[in-house]
């Protein structure tokens, strides 16, 4: 894929606001979200071939933003480790970002501990409230595989709950 500056600027206008909304919701910080959006679009500009034209730019950016946010969450020096048992107790998320910082921070902490592949699916399912079909389109896999990954998340969480909490 080649990317002219005009095309890139148009992609930015169409997609950067949504990317920022998701990053802000995942990270709970405007500053961090802006940095993620900047990094993702800079990466797209420098390596446009990473976008496979058989998916929509929206699905590509969902994956890219999720990946960047998960890395940031996991690498955050000041993160507070919370017991994964809270994951199960997390209330249903509202559409409004930042509105329930306690809920999202609990989920954010859980994401630090889930294996990366499962963490991605957890983001799509619990944060974005996407359908199996949406998640399958982002991951490039079948609905059935999405269901299997969600089962693995449940098993993983339940296994964690049986373990004593280690700080």
């Amino acid at each position: 894929m080649t990317l002219s500056r005009e095309h890139f600027d148009e992609l930015y206008r169409r997609h950067a606001p949504g990317a920022f909304r998701r990053a802000r919701r995942l990270l709970g910080s405007d500053a961090d979200a802006h940095e993620v959006v900047h990094d993702v679009f800079l990466s797209l500009w420098e390596r446009p071939g990473q976008f496979a034209a058989n998916s929509s730019m929206s699905t590509f950016l969902y994956a890219a933003v999720t990946h960047a946010c998960l890395n940031r969450i996991r690498n955050h020096n000041t993160r507070t480790r919370l017991s994964l048992q809270h994951f199960k107790q997390a209330p249903t998320l509202s559409v409004a970002p930042i509105a329930q910082p306690d809920q999202t921070s609990v989920l954010r902490s859980a994401l630090e501990q889930l294996p990366h592949e499962l963490a991605q699916v957890a983001v799509y399912y619990y944060f974005d409230e996407l359908t199996h079909r949406d998640i399958a389109s982002i991951l490039g896999c079948s609905h059935r595989h999405v269901g299997a990954l969600l089962k693995r998340i449940e098993h993983w969480v339940n296994a964690e709950e049986r373990e004593p909490c280690v700080s």
Binding site: R14, R22, S94
Partner: protein, 242 residues
């Protein structure tokens, strides 16, 4: 474990984003539009997203504007080139030291505690910065830090236009590891304000929020070291472009 606050037939965020981006196939778009006319909640979400979209683009209408918003004066877009010029200068400086010995290093400040150094790129020429360095608008600066213990670091700037934060882009100072001449991963492009300019490197043993220091610098034109902190100051003199 529970997931969804959305009803099964409601529109996901992804589909709303695809709708806004004009990526939906005609049949999908018709289905989504029909749903939006009957579902108050999804219509409300769409309107919220639209308002947020407009607010975002009002603040950062282009990628370049967003780069400024993210890093203020940071020019990360030009980072590969900036890294190249800076590394060349750093290697050249190391070569000079190796050849001539440490006593013949380029003149720098006397330093005991944590401190910063800098390199200046003007046109295609790169040199190691010194106190009172003459610079011009458009010059690029790169910084290194040296500290004998992990500390929290922020760089603040005071010039004729006021005070700003060079580093970090976030509100909290960044914890840096012990090390000597460690490069900070950004470069600064100097703006068009002329005259004396001071850059304050604030090293603290504890985490701190940067904004109160920037505000103090803006209001009082000075920056005394907070408790538990040490400050290293770089002075520049920005002259008109020749």
């Amino acid at each position: 474990m529970r997931q969804l606050s959305l009803a099964d037939d409601c529109i996901s965020d992804l589909v709303l984003d695809e709708l806004a981006a004009g990526e939906l196939a005609p049949e999908s778009m018709a289905r989504v539009q029909a749903h939006l006319t009957t579902c108050e909640r999804c219509a409300s979400r769409r309107n919220t997203f639209q308002r947020e979209r407009e607010a975002f683009l009002a603040a950062a209408p282009s990628f370049d504007a967003h780069a400024v918003l993210v890093g203020r004066k940071l020019q990360r877009r030009h980072w590969p080139a900036a890294r190249a010029w800076w590394l060349g200068a750093a290697l050249a400086a190391c070569a000079v030291v190796a050849l001539l010995g440490p006593q013949l290093q380029p003149p720098t400040r006397s330093k005991g505690g944590p401190h910063v150094d800098f390199f200046v790129k003007h046109a295609q020429r790169v040199e190691r910065g010194t106190l009172g360095q003459s610079v011009q608008p458009g010059d690029l600066l790169r910084f290194t830090y040296s500290t004998d213990a992990p500390r929290y670091l922020a760089l603040l700037d005071r010039d004729a236009r006021g005070a700003s934060t060079f580093y970090p882009a976030s509100t909290q100072a960044v914890r840096v590891a012990q090390g000597a001449n460690v490069a900070l991963a950004f470069s600064v492009e100097l703006d068009t304000s002329l005259g004396p300019e001071r850059i304050y490197a604030v090293f603290c043993s504890e985490a701190f929020v940067v904004e109160p220091l920037r505000a103090a610098l803006a209001n009082t034109d000075s920056l005394p070291a907070p408790p538990g902190c040490q400050i290293d100051v770089i002075t520049l003199n920005k002259e008109p472009s020749r």
